[in-house]
Symmetry: C2
Subunit: 242 residues, 2 copies
DNA sequence: ACCTGAACACCGTTCAAGT
DNA sequence: ACCTGAACACCGTTCAAGT
């Protein structure tokens, strides 16, 4: 069962190719959609533009994906392909380092496509890539002695932090194309101005760190907090040592 | 300077009301937009529907908001109104409890409107509510002895976790209107089926916790990890005790 | 079986013209 | 100064009809 089941309700192309051979299929459609996403961003990814890139009419896409949302879910699933294999390629380290590596791999997968985090956050993918990642994370935690409940909640905490962080990281990296300045992009200049205008003494003091562009350091710090928190939880809860 | 400056480039209504009195304004437009959001969700919030609710034509909205994105930013800002006042109303407790209260207030603010987290995550609000919240959080942390860099990074970690968590919480609470099952909603049933179909032993073991609907407990656990992580960081770094 | 062509019911945004 | 009316350039989705 390696294949992703995008949508069991969709009519998949039957095995013996009756009639004309298909000009597109799910895999090529998702691949082209991800290329388009990376080139132009989520807002520019329309069914019509995707169809044009595939040299087909827009309606043809609906033979493979019931809705655009289904396509986005398949894209999210594909983005995470191989993300669970990270600890296997770097087997050393304790559970904390393995968890850090896995979270970093998730962030890397989302960062590897423009608006990747937005696509992932906007879908609910339950394919082999996503579940395999979750399975690996939970395996590391249970192997380290955490209980089932703690392992599940730790998975959620790490995943939600990673998605939330990468969402903002990619929003900040948005090109802000043109002097018209779109409102979503996290321009540090606007933040600086806003802090200067109001009375935010505390914020003003930490502004240099807050507006720095080293998102890897921000991510590492948050992840470090979660791992150290887990260490504290385990020390307080279970009878086993580290 | 209490007023939120939605967009300095927009022509605000001049003080002496020349010509016809305005039938709509920014404040009423944002309030109505939030009502509509809460009733029907973000996907149903269109400029045309909002205009109809305000008894006006769609084009009239563009005298107050340059783009829909600007309107959404103003909505995000308004959602967080008063969220920084939480520690003032419950002044007791150490920095950890105060931080927990602030994060809980942020989650509560996002939860108080349907798709609130999606609106917030999709914008970059830098008004008094958002900056006031950030200022308060940083103030708590610096007051507890954390350095400027750690305080800034801790703010980001807590905010990103909270947004990421609430994004998923609201996706899970989506009514999933109709048996057609929209793909975004985090139906626990689909997750159960997907885990059962594949070979995810670790995931299967924690499935009861993973699919439980007590998001408050999930949120509390993640927040607990962050706070305990901060305690560990402070113990390891600074010379001052707790 | 697979895709086209054409339509349906919408969008966000702009802007001359009215009052 | 504020809003209307109407248009522009799109959307996602459906479906009879062609091959």
């Amino acid at each position: 069962m390696n294949t992703v089941h995008y949508n069991a309700a969709m009519s998949s192309p039957s095995s013996p190719a009756r009639g004309r051979p298909a000009r597109i299929d799910q895999a090529r459609t998702v691949a082209t959609a991800l290329e388009l996403l990376d080139e132009s961003g989520l807002d520019a990814l329309t069914m019509r533009r995707l169809a044009t890139a595939l040299d087909v009419q827009a309606g043809a896409l609906y033979r493979y994906f019931a809705t655009k949302q289904d396509l986005l879910t398949a894209m999210a699933e594909r983005m995470l392909a191989g993300v669970a294999a990270v600890p296997a390629s770097a087997p050393g380290g304790d559970w904390g380092e393995q968890l850090t590596g896995l979270a970093g791999a998730l962030r890397g997968a989302l960062l590897s496509y423009r608006d990747g985090a937005r696509v992932f956050a906007g879908t609910y993918a339950t394919g082999a890539s996503v579940l395999g990642f979750a399975d690996t994370v939970v395996g590391v935690l249970r192997g380290a002695g955490f209980g089932d409940e703690e392992a599940a909640r730790a998975l959620l905490a790490v995943a939600n932090f990673t998605v939330g962080h990468t969402l903002e990281e990619q929003a900040a990296r948005q090109p802000a194309d043109g002097p018209g300045a779109p409102e979503r992009s996290a321009d540090p200049e606007r933040l600086r101005r806003a802090v200067a205008e109001g009375e935010f003494e505390q914020l003003a003091a930490v502004l240099p760190t807050l507006t720095e562009s080293d998102f890897t350091a921000h991510f590492a710090f948050g992840l470090h907090l979660l791992v150290e928190g887990l260490r504290a939880v385990r020390a307080a809860g279970g009878p086993s040592g580290g």
